[in-house]
């Protein structure tokens, strides 16, 4: 195995190389306002003293990521300054969009993906070579990362790299390092904190065990490490008396429950139910209040947008997320197995995505990409990942709304579906293997054995065909039937339809976690 590992590592670089070529070609593609957001962060970290980073308001795109990310931008700005000082100029750089700045920022994303590369490598280095190569393809070639990071513009690959590193340490049993890297990740992007309860319970039970004294000592060690990380991140701001300002920026609860384009989560159904109830009650003659705020209009203020159902507050969503997490937490408490950590963490992000406050559709990356690393364990996981990755990639389509990128996003998704189909069917072509690796879902493995390959079930197939219908409706039929009217319907349909897929994935993951044997 060791030998194999040594010989197959160049393959990982090879995949990454191919992906990098495509990423380079995508440099001139559309980029969202996130591009200017990050450019502004480069400028303000470079031009202002640390004490003003979180209070500057020159641009509407103020710094709202935790300090490590700010330090990261500061680091990048050193090079930006060498290449073109205008990039880092606070005022002159506003909305600067020359080729230099576009290439520079795109290339920082491409290079920062090396972090993900290392994370994946680390996470898979002890697997047998067939499985790891498979995982590499699924992760390195993920169309979602391509769309969000390299077209839309963000640094998710970089951040997921830290998550992978942390998970790899946990799976190795080196919990202290795992905790350390998770703390680092939190100081890069606090949205990853959704998995903190899982980490907390797992580390408490798995690391801080073995008697009272030893447990207490380890608890202190872990506490010290995490505190040290947070201290490095936040101490300078505490010193400058900026800490409150930092926290205010990082947690802007003034935003609404849903983003302008609804992420395909639970709240979509809640809103639809509210609308339907209001509609029918009105039909039957009940007076219902008309909400002042509209969901389709973008950000929502303080007024309740619901006519019938109760108002949702951030606290409510927080409680629901915790509730949804609880089966997983109980499991982690009773049986903290390193092998399950990735699943649990992915499940936590799924819950956060499904029930969280003001969730972006991009947040689905946080669980889809980690799930790729366990998709090859057995046929059932593969089937689930096949469906989930297509649905969540499709739900990202509205991000790239310009016509020019249309063929690119469609081809990316199509290519990935074909690759997944080829890869999974090659892996599960022989019945014995499917059965051998799927002890939990014997029936599934059995079905596959009989048919001799990777198959998705009829209901999943029809769901995917439905995806095609939704797309054709949005692109073509809607304007034929409704013209300019009801312009929000196509997007709403995507949210609802993809929401179904995500809920299915959530239930599937939950079932898996509950059913997993207590060794």
């Amino acid at each position: 195995m060791g030998l194999q590992g040594a010989t197959s590592t160049p393959h990982l670089l090879w995949f990454f190389g191919i992906a990098t070529c495509v990423k380079l070609l995508l440099i001139p593609s559309y980029h969202s306002t996130d591009f200017e957001v990050h450019r502004n962060w480069l400028a303000l970290t470079h031009s202002l003293p640390l004490s003003q980073w979180y209070s500057d308001e020159t641009s509407p795109w103020t710094l709202d990521y935790p300090p490590f990310f700010a330090y990261f931008e500061f680091f990048l700005s050193i090079f930006a300054n060498l290449i073109d000082p205008q990039i880092v100029h606070l005022k002159k750089g506003l909305n600067y969009s020359s080729n230099t700045v576009v290439s520079f920022q795109r290339i920082t994303v491409i290079l920062s993906d090396l972090c993900m590369l290392y994370g994946v490598y680390r996470l898979t280095k002890d697997l047998d070579s067939k499985r790891r190569t498979l995982i590499w393809v699924l992760v390195v070639w993920s169309p979602m990362l391509m769309i969000v990071d390299h077209v839309h513009f963000q640094y998710n690959g970089f951040l997921l790299g830290f998550l992978f590193i942390s998970l790899s340490y946990l799976e190795e049993g080196r919990d202290l390092m795992g905790g350390l890297f998770f703390a680092v990740l939190l100081c890069f992007k606090h949205l990853f904190a959704v998995a903190a309860p899982v980490y907390f319970v797992y580390l408490l039970r798995h690391y801080c065990c073995g008697g009272l004294v030893r447990g207490l000592r380890r608890l202190l060690a872990m506490g010290a490490v995490v505190t040290a990380v947070f201290a490095v991140a936040y101490a300078p701001f505490v010193y400058h008396g900026q800490i409150q300002q930092v926290l205010r920026r990082m947690f802007p609860f003034g935003r609404g429950l849903c983003h302008a384009y609804w992420a395909p989560n639970f709240w979509v159904f809640y809103i639809i139910l509210d609308k339907l109830l209001a509609f029918f009650l009105r039909k039957f003659g009940f007076a219902t209040p008309t909400p002042e705020a509209s969901f389709t209009g973008g950000l929502v203020g303080d007024s309740s947008p619901f006519s019938i159902l109760p108002q949702i507050t951030p606290v409510t969503t927080f409680m629901i997320v915790l509730l949804a997490l609880s089966p997983c937490l109980i499991k982690a408490w009773r049986e903290p197995q390193p092998g399950m950590v990735t699943r649990w963490v992915a499940y936590a992000y799924t819950c956060g995505f499904l029930f969280g406050w003001h969730v972006h559709e991009k947040a689905s990356l946080h669980f889809v990409i980690p799930l790729a690393t366990i998709a090859v364990q057995n046929m059932d996981s593969a089937r689930h990942y096949y469906l989930l990755s297509i649905v969540s990639c499709y739900s990202l389509f509205p991000l790239l709304f310009e016509v020019r990128e249309y063929p690119i996003k469609v081809l990316l998704l199509l290519l990935y579906s074909i690759i997944m189909w080829l890869v999974f069917s090659a892996k599960f072509t022989d019945g014995e293997e499917a059965k051998a690796t799927a002890p939990i879902k014997k029936e599934a493995g059995h079905v596959a054995a009989k048919k001799g390959g990777f198959l998705i079930r009829g209901i999943e197939k029809s769901y995917l065909v439905g995806l095609l219908v939704v797309e054709i409706w949005g692109q073509l039929l809607h304007s034929i039937f409704f013209g300019e009217r009801l312009p929000f319907v196509p997007l709403m349909l995507i949210s609802i339809y993809c929401g179904l897929g995500i809920v299915y994935s959530w239930i599937w993951q939950l079932r898996w976690i509950i059913r997993s044997p207590e060794s």
């Binding site: 393959h11 380079l24 001139p28 067939k130 393809v137 063929p407 074909i418 690759i419 080829l422």
Partner: protein, 515 residues
């Protein structure tokens, strides 16, 4: 077993682990692997098409993009008979049509597509120099769709036919070969970056080659005549087609009948395509004169062919009249493709035919009249068809074909896709797969090749970063040209020698079996 299965993995074309790394890609058969690679190739093309085209924002003449757009404008707004004729509505000095009628029909169809979605981009007169986000997009999509509809199916046909005759071919090699053919960086850069429709004429040629390999000579003649009628440059392959088919026919029972059948198909296709211009001699000659722009001189810019390279020493343009240069270049071209033609007439074989295509295309590129940098695409095509036999030749010609177009692509601001696609090609070429043996065999004089690679890398850097001395503003172009020319000549000699050393008898036997 378990281990072998493990390796299936990966992505799109190639790769991975030790024994049979490509199994995942090929285990479902050629169709599935072709599909996967083709989608990836389309994705890469779509990404290349985000980049600028030739002459973008560069009035008054713009570039090839404007030429193609202008042809659409002319063809959808004027009657067929006016297309090639100078008139008040059709100013031939502004990008007049100078390709054969099939290109005009293709422009007409694409013009209809553009008019449907974006009428301003092809309206008569007013659309001159039209540049818009949407206009560019639609134009790009016409190339993308032409590629997907012509070139891809042709390659698919070729792969099916080519590997049907060699059942022992490894499946992974087939996938590698498909990737090499579909992801040819030069073709992608010129069609989807610079902006042309080479995919159509090259696709028709590949289709014709496949038809020849499957012994469907009539289909081959039809397809190749279409290719000739799309771009007259396809004539680079004509000697090979002619000699191979002729050689085959004279070995049959009734040579005269066979030859005349093929001749009739060719003639019929030409009549069909040229029909609107056959009503009078004057109209016919009018179109014909448009296709042979001898007034443009024997070479343009810095193309790495014989005339341009030697013009540093011998001022051809000054020493000879255009008329005698025409004869000179014709003589040189014909005499250099003669050996390969003779070989095919004496011993027609499938393998020899592919080498013959390469050799005649080389002869034309090096010696014919009015060659353009982009013409290197033509020798490149048979080289990629031969990739499995001659991986090193393919790599070498691709490198230098790319390099010879580097100054052109720099002008088009396509440096980024140039490097990205070169890297992609190198990665695919050296994809971690089971082909080490072949590579070892071919890296014979590796010191020389390493030196040459270093040289060209250095030249790339120099070209991008340094200003040429004032006295010789085109110094770097000339050096690039020299280097590329020398490599092309070496490759040309090599492939001619190779064609002649093919084992005659073996192939004859195979032929007989197939017949």
């Amino acid at each position: 077993m378990e281990k072998r299965r493990g390796r299936k993995v990966m992505k799109d074309k190639e790769e991975s682990v030790d024994d049979d790394p490509w199994r995942w890609l090929v285990h479902k058969g050629i169709v599935a692997s072709f599909l996967c690679i083709a989608v990836f190739a389309l994705l890469v093309r779509a990404a290349v098409s985000l980049h600028p085209y030739s002459g973008a924002g560069n009035p008054p003449k713009y570039g090839d993009f404007e030429a193609q757009r202008h042809w659409m404008e002319i063809t959808i707004n004027l009657p067929v008979k006016e297309w090639y004729r100078n008139s008040t509505t059709n100013d031939l000095s502004y990008w007049g049509l100078d390709y054969p009628p099939l290109t005009a029909y293709q422009s007409y169809i694409h013009g209809l597509f553009l008019r449907f979605f974006h009428p301003e981009s092809v309206s008569l007169f007013t659309s001159r120099g039209h540049e818009s986000y949407f206009g560019k997009l639609l134009m790009r999509w016409t190339v993308l769709s032409s590629d997907a509809l012509m070139f891809f199916p042709a390659v698919f046909y070729f792969v099916i036919v080519y590997y049907a005759s060699r059942p022992h071919g490894q499946k992974t090699d087939i996938a590698w070969h498909i990737a090499i053919m579909l992801l040819n960086p030069c073709l992608m850069l010129i069609d989807h970056g610079h902006f042309q429709y080479n995919c159509i004429s090259l696709g028709l040629t590949v289709g014709a080659v496949a038809a020849v390999l499957s012994n469907k000579e009539l289909v081959a003649c039809f397809l190749f005549s279409l290719a000739l009628n799309h771009k007259q440059m396809s004539a680079y392959f004509a000697p090979a087609f002619f000699s191979h088919l002729f050689g085959k026919c004279i070995r049959r029972q009734n040579p005269l009948l066979e030859v005349s059948k093929l001749g009739l198909v060719v003639l019929g296709t030409f009549v069909l395509v040229w029909w609107p211009y056959l009503h009078s001699m004057e109209a016919f000659l009018g179109v014909l004169s448009r296709l042979a722009p001898f007034e443009r001189g024997i070479y343009e810019d810095y193309v790495a062919n014989f005339w341009c390279t030697t013009s540093v020493l011998i001022k051809w343009k000054r020493m000879f009249t255009t008329q005698s240069l025409k004869l000179l270049s014709l003589g040189a071209t014909v005499s250099t493709c003669l050996p390969s033609m003779v070989q095919q007439i004496r011993a027609p074989s499938n393998q020899g035919f592919l080498y013959g295509l390469l050799n005649s295309a080389f002869s034309f590129y090096i010696f014919s009249f009015q060659v353009h940098e982009k013409s290197i695409l033509l020798p490149l095509l048979p080289a990629s068809l031969l990739a499995l036999e001659e991986p090193f030749l393919l790599k070498w010609i691709t490198f230098y074909a790319l390099f010879s177009m580097f100054p052109l692509l720099c002008r088009d601001e396509l440096i980024l896709p140039y490097f990205a696609l070169s890297a992609l090609f190198i990665l695919i070429y050296h994809g971690p797969s089971g082909r080490q043996d072949r590579r070892k065999r071919l890296s014979f004089n590796s010191v020389v090749t390493t030196l040459l690679v270093l040289c060209s890398v250095l030249l790339h850097i120099v070209y991008i970063t340094m200003q040429p001395p004032n006295r010789y503003p085109f110094l770097f172009e000339a050096v690039i040209m020299f280097l590329c020319f020398s490599q092309f000549v070496v490759l040309c000699f090599y492939s001619n020698a190779k064609q002649w050393s093919l084992k005659r008898t073996i192939f004859m036997d195979k032929e007989k079996k197939l017949l």
